[in-house]
């Protein structure tokens, strides 16, 4: 470890101050993270590819750059989810079908922060095509949760979340279609935000479900989240669905919640929330009141229909979005086919994993002639109702809060055989994607030895209100625990293997 830096605790805000004040060289900072990757990556597997040489070289170049010409995020080591295309760096989307894909351009969000001189450490692991809630659907093997290596980090941005939690990256970019930033952030004890639909350009984000996908930050703190979001947000002429934010993202400083009304949707907490998660959630509600906020029960009556609607709309869009992976122009092509149809079938049959195929089939079916109205049409009507639920609720409250995930990190392999159980992981996160609204998950403590996430949801373009409230609450929660890299499958007394004691603050050295 360099100069006493602790990658498990360092924030981007502090790192930036150290770099700006000349107390730390970018090359030292990057080395800190590359060393940590060296130390823990074989157990965590947060990355599909670590671009160590490029990162070290680039950090050295930043050190030679005069302060005045350095970008706003110069030298800050960053992990990028592997569904954002990066020119010259293989981008797989967690899939065999893009296993060798060399992008010919760079995603707008990435290009923006490259322009700010961030240092890219590598491409983070993910569920194939962002389809999943555990990162077990990656064609390149699962990521392990650094809080307990026998559990999943959540997904689909599990690599990004685990990298930040494990100190393998200062922060990361992920993408959120139904909770894919917030749920892994919750399970890994970090901050994760899904901005308002359209706030961040999707150009260069390999599409899963175009009307739901948004890129968002995974960071250690809410302040860092705002710092990264403000650099990636904004209109992009290459993405027709992107919009200019009404105002710049502000760096939050609030400590109180006076005057803010928080709605607790009865439908979210009615059932299926683990007791440990519920306890942390309720504890956090008391903190809200202590900070001067008001909590009221509200109703989002169509919540039960959100999950089924999502599992029609997202697969329907995916079935078209993934049709371009046909073996004709780039990526994997199966060998030995005799004609075009055979080539398509073999390439897609061998190139896609089981969950991706399942969703392509669901989506294709939902769009088929004769079924369209009953499935896709009906799901779109539900989507409108879900959106109206939020409109009605936000006439009464400023923000809505819920647990991010009904459970803490679950064991690797425990849900892979049951897709419906896996889909339940996103029950609290999906509705805002359907409504296009912003939401943030912050750690609110541990249940047992595993982190719990607290979700705040806001009206469209209320990013500043959300970040401000989350910042105040974060201060009150005072979450300081760090992961132990234990493995609850090991004997409790094995070195580094004790997951038994909650709130353990051991730092693996």
């Amino acid at each position: 470890m360099t100069a006493g830096l602790d990658p498990l605790r360092l924030t981007a805000r502090e790192a930036r101050r150290l770099l700006t004040d000349g107390e730390l060289a970018a090359s030292e900072l990057t080395k800190t993270y590359l060393d940590q990757i060296e130390r823990v990556e074989d157990r965590v597997h947060a990355f599909i590819q670590v671009t160590a040489d490029n990162a070290a070289k680039y950090a050295t170049e930043i050190d030679q750059e005069a302060g005045a010409t350095r970008g706003a995020l110069a030298g800050l080591p960053t992990a990028i989810k592997d569904n954002m295309v990066t020119e010259g760096v293989t981008t797989t989307c967690g899939s065999r079908i893009l296993g060798n894909y060399q992008p010919v351009y760079t995603a707008t969000a990435v290009r923006r922060i490259w322009g700010d001189h961030i240092v890219m450490l590598g491409k983070a692991n993910m569920d194939e095509f962002a389809m999943g809630s555990s990162t077990e659907n990656s064609a390149f093997g699962p990521t392990h949760n650094p809080w307990d290596l026998s559990t999943v980090p959540g997904g689909s941005s599990g690599g990004s979340a685990a990298a930040v939690a494990a100190g393998e990256a200062l922060w990361a970019l992920g993408s959120d279609t139904g909770g894919s930033v917030r749920q892994p952030a919750a399970l890994c004890g970090v901050v994760g935000m899904k901005p308002t639909y359209g706030a961040v350009s999707r150009y260069g984000l390999i599409a899963f479900a175009s009307s739901l996908d948004q890129i968002g930050p995974l960071t250690r703190t809410v302040y860092d989240c705002a710092l990264l979001l403000r650099r990636i947000a904004g209109h992009d002429p290459c993405d027709s669905t992107s919009v200019a934010l009404p105002g710049e993202i502000e760096l939050p400083g609030a400590e109180r919640l006076e005057g803010l009304r928080f709605g607790i949707p009865t439908e979210y907490v009615a059932r299926g929330i683990e007791p440990g998660v519920m306890a942390r959630f309720e504890k956090t509600l008391t903190l809200i009141e202590e900070l001067g906020g008001t909590c009221v029960e509200i109703s989002l009556p169509h919540t039960d229909y959100a999950l089924p609607a999502y599992y029609i709309i997202a697969p329907a869009e995916a079935s078209a979005n993934l049709a371009r992976f046909d073996g004709v122009r780039y990526g994997f092509r199966a060998a030995g086919a005799d004609d075009l149809t055979e080539m398509y079938e073999a390439t897609r049959g061998e190139g896609f994993g089981a969950e991706v195929k399942r969703r392509i089939m669901i989506g294709t079916y939902a769009l088929s002639s004769g079924y369209y109205q009953a499935y896709y049409g009906q799901a779109q009507r539900v989507r409108t109702l879900v959106r109206r639920d939020f409109d009605t609720a936000f006439a009464q409250v400023d923000l809505i809060v819920s647990p991010t995930s009904p459970t803490v990190a679950f064991g690797l392999g425990t849900r892979t055989a049951d897709p419906l159980a896996m889909y339940q992981s996103d029950i609290c996160t999906i509705p805002v994607n359907l409504a296009g609204l912003p939401a943030i998950s912050i750690p609110c403590g541990l249940a047992g030895h595993l982190p719990v996430g607290f979700q705040l949801m806001g009206p469209a373009f209320s990013e500043n209100r959300l970040l401000s409230a989350a910042h105040a609450l974060e201060g009150a929660i005072g979450f300081t625990a760090v992961p132990t890299f234990c493995d609850s499958r090991d004997a409790a007394d094995a070195p580094g293997g004790s997951c038994g004691r909650p709130d353990r603050e051991a730092v693996e050295r």
Binding site: N83, M84, V85, T91, C93, L98, Y101, P103, V104, Y105, A107, R202, Y203, G204, L205, I206, A207, A209, S210, S211, P237, C238, D239, S240, T241, A316, E317, S319, A320, A323, R324, F325, D326, V328, R329, Y330, L340, Y344, T364, L367, S368, S369, Y372, Y376
Partner: protein, 496 residues
């Protein structure tokens, strides 16, 4: 046969001549090396997103407004899903049930009869890439060894004009298409080059008892780009359907292939194999909005449309309806004609020449009106000589041919080839005298009262002068000489 009437509908695709493609910034080009105008968007690389070409929307709106359509304030794009190597996204972005424009009509002429065809809709989409099948016979996929894709064309803006089944005959279908092509070219939105496939169409056809208002089962002819083959195909399909129905059979709804060599249509695929395109709204694009002010601006920018121009040509230039339709139907030919008139050529003379010599020249040289050596200025220079009586009509035609052949100026040609009309009295009088001297028998006939013999002598004068004699002057001199006038100074040889 007279108991049945054909019902024909056309769906016409037109590639727009925008600078760039429908959803990306790649240039729209013709004839460049394959795959030199591509980008992540038109190659459907992962993560790439479409952005609508505003100029293409404007061009489509021009066509829609010229067809009297209502341009809808909000229209959306859909995805039309199918796998094929010429479609890199495996879906075509196209408009479906909320198109750009609806409910128009197109007036066209078949001979002197004005017909009208309702236009169901005008919508926007993107063209597919071009497939090249190698190693087989004549570029066909059957028997080829491998296929290559040229993505230069992929993503070219395309509009589809969907006509209602209002066309009453194969000939009318051909006229509809030719006149629609003229309209589109005149709007400046596409050159509609036939060989490049910039305009192509699907035809559907059915027959029904004459006077019935019910539609019969239709067959379709897809992706055609020859007016002649279309007419031939329809002319062979109508009696086929009639024969089937008169024999008590039923028409299968199917797609037909027309073989121009045999003149026979054969089934291509039946509806059982029809695709399920799984249309759904394109989530990567926002709706296209067209406010009233924008629509009005586009409407104001439309040039004069052919129908209005034909009306104007009859009233302004006193042309017959037929001449006006020939000259005014296409913007280019109309423009050429009006340039001649603007240069002071009398409208009827100009009309005769444009429809005659000039059109024949365009046809044989394969030129579009206004192109090639014969500019309006050159033709006007020649016609001014005709109008002034300095060159006879016959000589002018020679001069025209020589002007084309030698790529020369009309005045030079006339001078060099001595095509000027002889209006010099002395010169012509000598010729007249010689002609009279050579034909004493005919002179006698005239003098015996058979005055029509004069025409013979005028003809002889024209022959001797190779058509250059001013015919009126020649006639005057001939009559004077025959009447024994003093206009025949070399009359000496004539018998007393």
């Amino acid at each position: 046969m007279s108991a049945w009437e054909p019902v024909i509908g056309l769906e016409v695709h037109v590639e727009l001549d925008t600078a760039t493609k429908m959803f990306c910034g790649c240039p729209v080009t013709k004839g460049d090396p394959p795959n030199t105008h591509t980008c992540p968007v038109c190659l459907a690389h992962p993560g790439a997103l479409p952005v609508v070409n505003e100029r293409a929307i404007e061009y489509a709106a021009r066509i829609a407004l010229a067809l009297g359509c209502e341009v809808r304030p909000r229209s959306i794009f859909h995805r039309k899903n199918y796998f094929y190597p010429d479609l890199p996204k495996a879906y075509q972005i196209s408009q479906y049930d909320e198109p750009l424009a609806v409910a128009g009509s197109f007036d066209y002429w078949v001979g002197d009869e004005k017909l009208s065809c309702r236009i169901n809709r005008v919508h926007m989409e993107e063209d597919a890439a071009k497939l090249i099948h190698a190693g087989g016979e004549a570029g066909r996929i059957a028997g080829s060894e491998y296929s290559m894709v040229d993505f230069n064309r992929g993503g070219t803006p395309l509009i589809e004009i969907v006509g209602e089944p209002d066309i009453p005959s194969p000939e009318a279908a051909r006229e509809f298409l030719q006149q629609l092509r003229d309209l589109v070219i005149g709007l400046g939105v596409s050159e509609c080059n036939m060989e490049e496939g910039q305009i192509r169409w699907d035809a559907n056809i059915s027959v029904r008892p004459a006077g019935s208002d019910r539609l019969g089962t239709r067959t379709e002819l897809k992706n055609m780009n020859s007016f002649r083959f279309l007419q031939q195909a329809l002319e062979s399909e109508v009696p086929r359907q009639v024969a089937v129905l008169e024999a008590g059979g039923a028409i299968e709804q199917e797609t037909l292939h027309f073989d121009p060599e045999t003149g026979v249509t054969t089934p291509l695929r039946s509806k059982e194999e029809a695709h399920d395109y799984r249309y759904f709204p394109e989530p990567d694009l926002v709706p296209v909005t067209a406010d009233a002010a924008w629509i009005e601006r586009v409407r104001q920018s439309l040039p004069e449309l052919p129908a209005a121009r034909v009306e104007r040509f009859t009233s302004q230039y006193g042309l017959s309806r037929y001449d006006a339709a020939v000259l005014g139907g296409g913007a280019a030919l109309a423009g050429f004609y009006e340039e001649l008139v603007a240069q002071g050529i009398e409208p009827k003379l100009a009309a005769n020449w444009v429809m005659g010599e000039y059109s024949a020249h365009l046809h044989s040289a394969g030129l579009e009106p206004g192109h090639g050596h014969v500019t309006a200025a050159r033709l006007a220079a020649l016609l001014r000589l005709v109008a002034a009586g300095e060159v006879s009509g016959t000589a002018a035609k020679q001069a025209f041919a020589l002007m084309v052949e030698e790529r020369a100026e009309p005045l030079d040609v006339v001078a060099r080839h001595d095509l000027g009309q002889v209006s010099d009295t002395g010169e012509l009088a000598a010729v007249v005298a010689a002609v009279l001297a050579a034909h004493p028998a005919q002179v006698e006939q005239f003098r015996a009262g058979k005055e029509q013999v004069a025409g013979f002598f005028v003809g002889q004068v024209m022959k001797v002068t190779q058509g250059k004699a001013n015919p009126q002057l020649a006639a005057e001199l001939v009559r004077a000489a025959l009447r024994g006038g003093d206009a025949a100074p070399t009359d000496a040889g004539a018998p007393a």
